[in-house]
């Protein structure tokens, strides 16, 4: 488990059915790209969050396959559209096998 990895998500508390709204997500993660070298000249191995997904009540909103070129503390902003109340779940997968999650409830109508 990478150290101090903390997700943050912003989802409105409520929304209208069928009307798109914005979601923002951030997670603290170094995103060691695999391009840097240490003081001895050895390449520091890649260690990043490589996958992100946002789902709502079990259905997919969006996914992202991340590479080393995503900045430290990966940030995503995207839109969702839903028809009913429920729960958003956010999942980040780390190169080291860890999984980080967060969730947010939302009411419709």
């Amino acid at each position: 488990m990478a150290e101090n990895v903390k997700p943050r998500v912003r989802v409105p508390r409520s929304a209208s059915a069928g009307e798109a709204f914005e979601i923002k997500t951030l997670i603290s993660h170094k995103m060691e790209s695999g391009q840097r070298k240490d003081s001895d000249g050895n390449r520091i191995p890649r260690s990043i969050i490589n996958h992100f997904s946002c789902d709502f009540n079990g259905e997919n909103v969006m996914t992202a396959i991340l590479e080393g070129a995503i900045s430290t503390n990966p940030y995503f902003q995207f839109d969702a559209v839903i028809q009913e109340s429920g729960t958003f779940t956010f999942t980040w997968l780390d190169d080291d096998g860890s999984e980080y999650t967060d969730s947010k409830d939302i009411t419709v109508g």
Partner: protein, 283 residues
């Protein structure tokens, strides 16, 4: 190698860059953070020769400015979140967390950041934010002091600075701190290092101009701790002082040294009137 005046070379480079490439500075840009307007320009304090003090935010590219205008987009807030966890975490021999004594939350510290560094009569010395955090940790929590210019301390400084956001910097420069302030002023104007430069050469004589591909600001510290895009983490005042000195190839003073404390007081006072922005976003 022929001897030549380094400062003449630098002056040449600075002059050539005035107005090249990058977008011009928009002095009228408004810093509105989630609905609160932050003062980024103010009349300069009396002791300064310049007319107006201007926050570093004004000198950054619009994309960078935008990052600070929303508390979610602002990556520094991730560290404020971490500090909040730390605030609630028991640490030390007394079995306490910050929350144990400060039952009303970090909101209790509204106004503190705007006055620091300041003379503390009880302690008989000038204190900055790091001093207060460590004094309380050691004395009341029986906890280890946090290392300055390291993530855990910088995050806590950010959390507490945030409570004063929008309030005008109002640092005292007279009374018991007068001598320290004078020392800070002297350091600010003294040329040092291989490049033979003083803080003033860039931050008073050339703010608004480009240095290579960076736009120079007035070197105000109202925005500290600052999340820099360059290292994607929070940076403290004295860590930046150290970085600046290394950039001009001078032997930096130590973080926590008397010299940097004096400089912190003096530089803070140069921004009296600007709003606390911490934690801010810069390049």
């Amino acid at each position: 190698m022929k001897k030549f005046t380094l400062s003449a070379t630098i002056a040449a480079s600075l002059a050539l860059f005035a107005g090249t490439a990058s977008a011009q500075v928009d002095l009228d840009a408004v810093l509105n953070i989630d609905g609160t307007v932050i003062t980024t320009r103010a009349p300069a304090p009396d002791f300064l020769d310049i007319d107006e003090v201007i926050s570093g935010w004004v000198y950054r590219a619009s994309e960078t400015q935008a990052l600070q205008m929303d508390d979610f987009d602002n990556p520094a807030m991730l560290f404020v979140d971490q500090a909040m966890d730390d605030w609630n975490r028991v640490d030390g021999t007394e079995g306490k967390s910050c929350a144990s004594c400060h039952t009303n939350g970090p909101e209790e510290f509204a106004g503190l950041r705007a006055e620091l560094p300041r003379w503390d009569a009880e302690r008989g010395q000038m204190m900055n934010m790091e001093d207060y955090i460590n004094y309380n940790r050691v004395t009341y929590m029986g906890a280890e002091p946090l290392k300055w210019a390291k993530p855990r301390m910088d995050a806590m400084v950010a959390l507490i600075s945030l409570q004063s956001r929008g309030m005008p910097i109002n640092v005292a420069i007279d009374g018991p701190v007068a001598d320290i302030w004078a020392q800070g002023e002297e350091i600010y104007y003294t040329r040092v290092g291989q490049l033979d430069m003083a803080c003033a050469n860039c931050h008073e004589d050339n703010y608004g101009n480009m240095i290579r591909a960076d736009r120079l600001s007035q070197g105000q510290i109202n925005g500290f701790p600052v999340y820099r895009l360059k290292n994607a983490k929070l940076n403290s005042v004295q860590a930046r002082f150290k970085g600046c000195m290394k950039n001009i190839r001078a032997e930096p003073y130590a973080v926590g040294s008397d010299e940097f404390r004096a400089l912190e007081l003096y530089v803070a006072s140069r921004g009296n009137g600007l709003s606390v922005e911490g934690p801010s976003v810069r390049n």
